[in-house]
């Protein structure tokens, strides 16, 4: 299939709008992606025609919704290469997925003096749940350092693992720098010492082909809204054996087998971890989003986005005022940078006025900002509907910003 970006752009109604009278240039895809019509229609159709609670009702609509939801689970299982639908847990998003593991895995496996490894480039969502767990259990949080290019120091990582290490939690792709971490190697090293690994796939899922069985990761967490699906739906993949050993995270309806005031027995996977009414509409729309992606082809997407990255990087490197933060050899379609002498908030404000949506600030990853001695950056992040023409508009806008402030 040939990739026709102009045709693709028509699938995204949000791209048709103007902001401040200018064509919207949306370069904030690492924060959230725009939604194609098929996804919006899927969500809306659920509420128009299919709305019903799942796994409970004997009536027609409830059974239809239950079947649709479980079909979606099956599809997602195949999309990420899991071995069973028991391994696909629906959550609100990456943050909840990681919190689920920190809380439940932590309750079962973490004891005083144990060690948890994260990296210096993590999003706060993959730091704080572990930090709180360490405080609670008197465990120790260890951090893989990052070098000047924004790559993990793999030698240091090897040396961090000890007989007390209970879990390693790292990002697939850094949201602040764009670094694609060598997760295959990270998992291999941890497994060599029998340590399970959680991958924060918030940024990874929409840019890389993910097969959890080949990766052999123990957990993979991602959000729907970063892969063209609605907000409020996410997935936690976990190996069945581990999930079975872990206690429930939240409790309520749906996750039980039998309840009396003396004792409650819990439902089987994946329902044990899905207390309460699930986000059925979100789940069905997520399935639509994944089908949409699959239809274009994640490899096609990856290579097109890489073209955008290379093009934009070359343009920014030509500007002496710009300093790119994060120059890993393996990077996702995201560029974090600072303009010497211009505050990121100022630059972001003017770019906004010029119709360009970028992210400014610390990107919920303060430790990595501290590592580079800065308090924030401007970040542009591409999706496959972005174009080189938009990059040109952005570069011109950036020149205007520099002229205004310097």
């Amino acid at each position: 299939m040939t990739f026709d970006v102009n045709k693709i752009r028509k699938d995204f109604p949000a791209l048709e709008q103007k902001v401040y009278g200018k064509e919207l240039v949306y370069f904030d895809n690492a924060a959230t992606t725009l939604k194609p019509s098929v996804v919006i229609e899927r969500l809306s159709n659920f509420y128009k025609k299919e709305n019903s609670n799942v796994h409970r009702g004997v009536h027609f609509l409830s059974q239809e919704a239950t079947t649709a939801m479980e079909n979606a689970r099956q599809y997602i299982k195949e999309f990420i290469g899991a071995s069973s639908t028991s391994e696909i847990i629906f959550t609100k998003g990456t943050t909840e997925s990681i919190n689920l593991v920190a809380s439940s895995f932590g309750k079962k496996f973490i004891e005083k003096g144990d060690e948890i490894i994260v990296s210096e480039l993590e999003h706060h969502a993959n730091i704080i749940p572990w930090q709180l767990l360490c405080e609670e259990k008197e465990a120790i949080l260890k951090v893989i350092p990052v070098d000047d290019a924004g790559e993990l120091d793999m030698e240091a990582y090897k040396n961090l693992i000890t007989s007390r290490t209970k879990i390693v939690a790292v990002a697939h792709i850094s949201n602040a720098l764009g670094t694609i971490n060598p997760i295959v190697k990270i998992i291999e090293i941890a497994h060599h010492r029998n340590v399970p690994v959680l991958i924060d796939g918030a940024q990874g899922i929409s840019h890389k082909s993910v097969n959890v069985s080949i990766l052999d990761c123990d957990f993979y967490a991602f959000s729907g809204h970063k892969i063209f699906a609605p907000m409020g739906i996410g997935v936690l993949y976990g190996k069945e054996k581990l999930l079975n050993e872990m206690p429930p995270y939240q409790s309520g309806g749906e996750m039980i087998k039998e309840v009396s005031f003396e004792k409650t027995t819990f439902n089987e996977l994946p329902f044990k971890f899905e207390a309460g009414t699930p986000n059925v509409g979100g789940i069905l729309a997520l399935e639509s989003a994944l089908k949409y992606i699959k239809n274009i082809g994640i490899d096609v997407i990856e290579s097109y986005e890489h073209e955008l990255l290379t093009y934009a990087t070359a343009q920014l490197k030509n500007m002496p005022e710009i300093n790119i933060i994060g120059n890993a050899s393996n990077k996702s379609s995201l560029i974090s940078f600072v303009i010497k002498g211009v505050h990121h908030y100022d630059a972001g404000t003017i770019l906004d006025k010029l119709g360009i949506a970028v992210r400014t600030g610390h990107h919920c990853a303060q430790p990595i900002m501290t590592r580079f001695g800065i308090d924030g950056t401007l970040r542009i992040s591409f999706a496959f509907y972005n174009t080189k023409e938009e990059i040109n508009i952005f570069v011109d806008a950036l020149k205007t910003v520099i002229k205004m402030f310097l």
């Binding site: 100022d346 972001g348 404000t349 003017i350 006025k353 205004m404 402030f405």
Partner: protein, 143 residues
């Protein structure tokens, strides 16, 4: 002596000559650059009004019934808006500051920077100025 409303009107007039938003922002940037710099020793954690995006420092002094403010920011647009606010509020009594509604900012089209979602510290700055006014009033003036 100009009243607080006259000072606000003067700023509205200054901004009204700009038709283009870019000229308006250029003027704001100039106002940020022109603002009397705050002494480094005043840029303490105590005086820091932290927004998520930019840092803003504010000091307030009470002298003979009036409040005198100083501000600084690492972001020049934030600093420019802080300057606009200070030009209007400086040298006013706690009562006037507490009762003034700052709607002149709408007229110069800067209200978007005062939205709580902007997290540039300006909303907190206004809250902090009003808090200073309450404190000075209760400390130095009979209620």
């Amino acid at each position: 002596m100009m009243t607080i409303q006259e000072k606000a009107n003067e700023i509205v007039d200054e901004f009204s000559i700009f038709e283009d938003w870019m000229d308006k922002y250029n003027y704001l940037i100039d106002m940020g650059k022109e603002m009397e710099p705050m002494e480094e020793e005043s840029k303490t954690k105590q005086n820091l009004i932290s927004g998520c995006q930019s840092q803003l420092w504010l000091t307030a002094k009470y002298d003979k019934g009036k409040i005198y403010l100083k501000a600084d920011s690492d972001a020049i647009i934030t600093k420019g808006i802080a300057n606009v606010l200070i030009r209007v509020l400086n040298g006013e009594t706690p009562d006037i500051i507490l009762n003034y509604d700052l709607s002149f900012l709408d007229k110069i089209g800067l209200q978007e920077h005062l939205s709580p979602t902007r997290s540039n510290g300006l909303v907190s700055m206004i809250r902090q100025i009003k808090l200073y006014a309450v404190v000075f009033k209760s400390k130095y003036e009979q209620i």
